[in-house]
């Protein structure tokens, strides 16, 4: 038995050190007034009071994070379409899958630079196409515009996540027994009817899984936002995670950053729990009508 614990020890030590201990430390730190140069003292809920009642940036960052999260279904729906297409028996489908998935394992910092260049107001491809088609008469400064910056970042993020959603949905599609479709086809159900009555209900847990991944992604997209806009212009693209980073490492307010992190983590856990709850209630159930 001792052997087993020896084998587990290094991994356990890493997780305790970099997962569990930080959670606890964040909790403690959020109730303290502390910076590396002065001793800590307990101040109760003061950090939380400041966050909730006296910090507009926090609310802006929270709102942006929620918009980011709410945009995940757009990517998931597109990915579902792509997954259905690459699930068809056609020549070269592996090549299509690879191309569509390729953006996911790429370094996000590089993705951010690529999309900065695509959105560039002088020679960016997007402005060029929009101007050539006569959609706009003056170039749009996407990343410097209060209205366009957040949608632009979300578009870049969707581009990167699309392939991942597609692969997950594809796994879900492939786990649906083929006989169901065949039986329904014999009973005279058309392709559209089979999609709504068989594919979609059986895919429901997978769709929720994608939503949980997208939600997690909206909470953790630090690299993309930091490099594309740095949270700007103003605070137009500030997310909770970029705000936490700035509080901690530009303003050295570790205590306050810890309070925001605790809020961030609780929000994440409750949304995940909620999504699981909704999907779990009749996961895999079929509509019989």
């Amino acid at each position: 038995m001792a052997q087993v614990w020896c084998l587990l020890a290094p991994s356990l030590a890493i997780f305790l050190l970099y997962r569990i201990l930080p959670l606890l430390w964040n909790g403690v730190l959020s109730f303290e007034d502390w910076s590396p140069l002065k001793p800590a003292h307990w101040i109760g809920f003061e950090n939380y009071n400041e966050m909730l009642f006296d910090d507009d940036v926090f609310w802006q960052a929270l709102w942006n994070t929620l918009i980011f999260m709410a945009s995940a279904p757009i990517g998931i729906v597109i990915a579902l379409g792509l997954a259905l297409l690459v699930n068809a028996e056609i020549r070269g489908r592996d090549v299509y899958r690879t191309i569509i998935f390729l953006s996911y394992p790429m370094m996000t910092v590089a993705v951010a630079i690529i999309w900065r260049w695509m959105f560039d107001e002088r020679v960016g491809l997007i402005n060029y196409v929009a101007r050539s088609l006569g959609l706009v008469d003056r170039p749009i400064e996407f990343l410097n515009s209060f209205n366009w910056a957040l949608p632009s970042v979300i578009a870049a993020n969707t581009w990167q996540m699309l392939g991942f959603y597609m692969i997950i949905l594809l796994t879900g599609l492939q786990s649906i027994p083929g006989e169901l479709h065949e039986a329904a086809a014999i009973d005279g159900a058309g392709a559209r009817r089979r999609f709504w009555s068989i594919t979609l209900p059986l895919l429901r847990p997978t769709l929720f899984l994608c939503f949980v991944i997208g939600m997690l992604n909206s909470f953790t997209s630090f690299d993309l936002v930091y490099v594309m806009t740095g949270g700007g212009p103003g605070r137009a693209t500030e997310l909770l995670i970029t705000y936490i980073y700035k509080l901690g490492f530009s303003q050295t307010r570790f205590d306050y950053a810890a309070a925001v992190t605790v809020f961030f983590f609780l929000l994440l856990v409750s949304v995940t729990w909620l999504a699981n709850r909704i999907s779990g209630r009749d996961a895999g159930a079929m509509r019989m009508d």
């Binding site: 038995m1 087993v4 614990w5 084998l7 587990l8 290094p10 991994s11 356990l12 890493i14 997780f15 050190l17 970099y18 997962r19 569990i20 930080p22 959670l23 430390w25 964040n26 730190l29 792509l82 297409l85 056609i90 020549r91 299509y96 191309i99 569509i100 998935f101 390729l102 394992p105 790429m106 370094m107 910092v109 590089a110 630079i113 690529i114 900065r116 695509m118 020679v123 491809l125 060029y128 050539s132 581009w159 699309l162 692969i167 997950i168 796994t171 479709h181 086809a185 392709a191 899984l209 991944i213 630090f222 690299d223 930091y226 980073y245 901690g248 490492f249 992190t261 983590f265 994440l268």
Partner: protein, 270 residues
Amino acid sequence: MHRYPRWPIHLALLAASFLMLIPFYWVLKTSVSGENIFAYPPSVVPKEPHLFYYVDVWYYIPFARYFLNSVAVSAIAVAANVVLNAMAGYALTRDFAGKGLVLMLFLSCMMVPFQATIIPAYLITGRLGLLDSYLGLALPQCSTIVCIFVFKASFEAVPQSLIDAARIDGLSEWGIIWRMMIPLAKAAVATNVILSFIWSWNNFLWPLIVTRSADMQTLPLGLARFLSYQEDTTGALYAFCIMVLAPGILLFLLAQKEFIQGLTSGAVKA
């Protein structure tokens, strides 16, 4: 199943592939020809392509140093992941008191994104005296729960009689893992290698927090820094971009199957 025409599917997928690839093309084009930001319209095909920007990268920034740092950190992370995850994965195939607790701990750790730990993780690394070091850069990623489960699933497929036979022959637990299990679990090793490599190679937030000296910066940091120095008008930035992306893309194309298997198994478990 009745037949349906295939060309609309091909058409839709070709359009999707085109949209996915066009950003790469735009950057590749700039990396070989630069871009005159005062000339409109931008050229769609590179004019007089050349590779000088790829040479410039070596002069503008300490590319070799960044590359070396990234390789060192990734090497530590990959080696540690294979060794530690194989040990933990094997331990989890055995029955022992407290196994349920360990599994619960692992699953709950999966719920904690790294981003939610940055402040204390920085303070802890500071207390350990590992700020600004390769080990400090790699340590939080030295073992991954998803990859432990990949090993566990693969080890569970090995018949118990084979393990018993090895024990009777006098092989220690350590010997069983390295001489018997690992050779039987090559796919799991490949999954571990590629996942931990990509995660560590692409990591930006953690190096941004723990590195202080310019000498310890990894490629993603160097890239972000280059952007802030040069603004985004020079072809060299995009050449740098391509040079940084190449190893990851190459490795992904070589081990695509293992990568996707690892990811989906992890995602479905989570």
